[in-house]
């Protein structure tokens, strides 16, 4: 019987955490919008999301043991994020192109490469993360790392210009009218390779 009580207690805590994470991420989606909900729901969602975050210990300092233990549990159980895949709306995607400048003036274009389709899906996810991150410094570090991976394949390159942009998808009507996906440059980074990028 003691095992059962232990299980029930764990069950209650486990699902409280799952519900908190799910509510927090759903509220965040509403706060970041756009959704079909009225405008006032954004303010409400922001406040409610803050409450859900408090329940998950995210207002505690990072080194707080409670926060650390809770965060570890979320990660090991695979419940650290909500379930709003492709929701409320399907976002556009991103593209990263490298312009490789050789010492003889030659220019070539390259993109980060992986061997398999499964890895290509992950690479797309990485580009989406770079596009969505709010921290410019992290964005630059990630692009620089990808530039390094390309540089390893083209050792004699002198400089690399990385162009990171978003791809806008046409609506069905626009597609029927002949419009195709459009590309817009968001960031450009120049890396000198005298001693590696």
């Amino acid at each position: 019987m003691r095992t059962k009580y232990f299980c029930v207690a764990w069950f209650v805590l486990h699902f409280l955490v799952i519900m908190s994470v799910s509510c927090r991420d759903t509220l965040r989606s509403v706060a970041e919008g756009p959704t079909i909900l009225p405008r006032w729901s954004k303010d409400f969602s922001q406040k409610a999301e803050a409450i859900a975050s408090v329940a998950l210990g995210q207002d505690l300092v990072v080194s707080n043991p409670v926060r650390q233990v809770l965060a570890t549990y979320l990660h090991v159980a695979g419940i650290e994020s909500g379930y709003g895949y492709f929701a409320p709306n399907v976002p556009g995607t991103y593209k990263l192109t490298f312009e490789l400048h050789y010492p003889d003036g030659r220019i070539e274009y390259a993109r980060p490469q992986v061997s398999s389709t499964a890895a290509a899906l992950r690479l797309t996810g990485l580009l989406d993360q770079i596009g969505r991150t709010k921290y410019d410094a992290l964005k630059e570090i990630l692009v620089k790392m990808l530039a390094q991976s390309v540089w390893r394949e083209h050792r004699d390159v002198k400089t690399i210009r990385a162009e990171f942009g978003s791809i806008s998808l046409p609506s069905l009507t626009e597609f029927q009218q002949g419009k195709r996906e459009s590309y817009q440059t968001l960031y450009t980074y120049d890396f000198s390779l005298t001693q590696g990028p």
Binding site: S22, A77, F86, P88, A119, L121, S149
Partner: protein, 320 residues
């Protein structure tokens, strides 16, 4: 209401909760979960066989693993990661390439062992640990499939293994220590799926694009999911709003209709068909597979008839 009445109600609620959380049942769902997750781990490992070291190495890979691990440490210092294995291996002089390759081989081996049901508990823990290490160390390249694999493997390693179709049961004659918890772990998985679909459906319902079908169109033409020619898709344009609403209702209705004997089969087939559709039309095969595995294990084992299935391993403990 009198105090006695409140106590009676509380006692009744407790009994109902215990009855709900600890149902009597067979271990056929656990067989499905073990087999399915074993296959999932095998396909996951094989799908990344050529890129494993490139995606997860420190210097010399696509993205330096140390960056993802450093960011993870800020959030949680105790979450498993490949860096731990590498630090250990460094003491015995093994280099990164060997450790990563060994981790991949062990993960594949754990997947194969799970399929056969050999050393079930150990292999479930090993698969969970190694997959978690890879998912967290490759944090920038992880996506939904990794979350669901972690969830599935987490529940599998805690469930009362081995099941009766495993090698452990048949040849090694091992028996689970707590068979009365079989129903509990199935309930946990079932309820977790209900939460997953409810919130997934709710968030979709909040986007206008799921009601008019434009999100279906966008999903199917979005690189790298655009495996069907858009010109072909245009011919199906009248189906998009129907499909969008169907997905919203299927997901948000999941926790309400999956429990009823009359609607369970329809909902389960609908959800599995949706995931199969996502798999084939968008190329997300691993994602589709893990979702189908979790659904079939949680709610399908009553629908899939096992040969010589007996009612229960051991009677439930009597609640005094």
């Amino acid at each position: 209401m009198t105090t006695r009445g409140v106590v009676n109600h509380a006692s009744l609620f407790k009994d109902r909760l215990v009855t709900f959380l600890f149902p009597i049942g067979t271990d056929s769902w656990l067989t499905l979960l073990r087999l399915g997750l074993g296959l999932q781990v095998i396909f996951y490992s094989l799908s990344l066989r050529n890129d494993w070291n490139y995606l997860l190495s420190g210097a010399g890979g696509l993205i330096n693993r140390n960056l993802a691990e450093a960011l993870l440490s800020v959030e949680s210092r105790f979450t498993p990661r490949l860096g731990w294995l590498l630090a250990l291996a460094k003491h015995v002089g093994l280099d990164e390439h060997i450790v990563l390759s060994a981790a991949w081989i062990c993960l594949l081996g754990a997947g194969c062992a799970l399929v056969f049901g050999f050393a079930c508990r150990f292999c479930a823990i090993l698969a969970w640990f190694l997959h978690l290490c890879a998912a967290k160390s490759g944090g920038f390249i992880s996506y939904g499939v990794d979350n669901f694999m972690t969830i599935g493997l987490f529940y599998l390693m805690l469930s009362p293994l081995p099941d009766r179709y495993s090698v452990d049961w048949r040849l090694r004659e091992l028996r689970p220590k707590d068979p009365q918890l079989l129903g509990f772990w199935r309930r946990v998985l079932q309820l977790h799926l209900c939460v997953i679909y409810f919130f997934s459906g709710l968030t979709k319902c909040l986007g206008s694009g799921w009601w008019d079908g434009s999100n279906i169109w966008r999903s199917l033409i979005r690189p790298p999911f655009n495996i069907i020619d858009p010109e072909t898709l245009v011919r199906w344009k009248y189906l998009f709003p129907v499909a969008g609403i169907f997905i919203c209702l299927l997901e948000i209705g999941y926790p309400f209709f999956i429990w009823n004997d009359k609607t369970r089969k329809i909902w389960l087939i609908g959800i599995c068909a949706m995931h199969a559709g996502i798999g084939f039309m968008m190329g997300m095969y691993l994602f589709a597979l893990i979702m189908i595995i979790l659904n079939v294990a949680a709610f399908g084992s009553g629908l899939v008839r096992f040969r010589r299935e007996s009612p229960s391993l051991r009677p439930q403990e009597v609640v005094p």
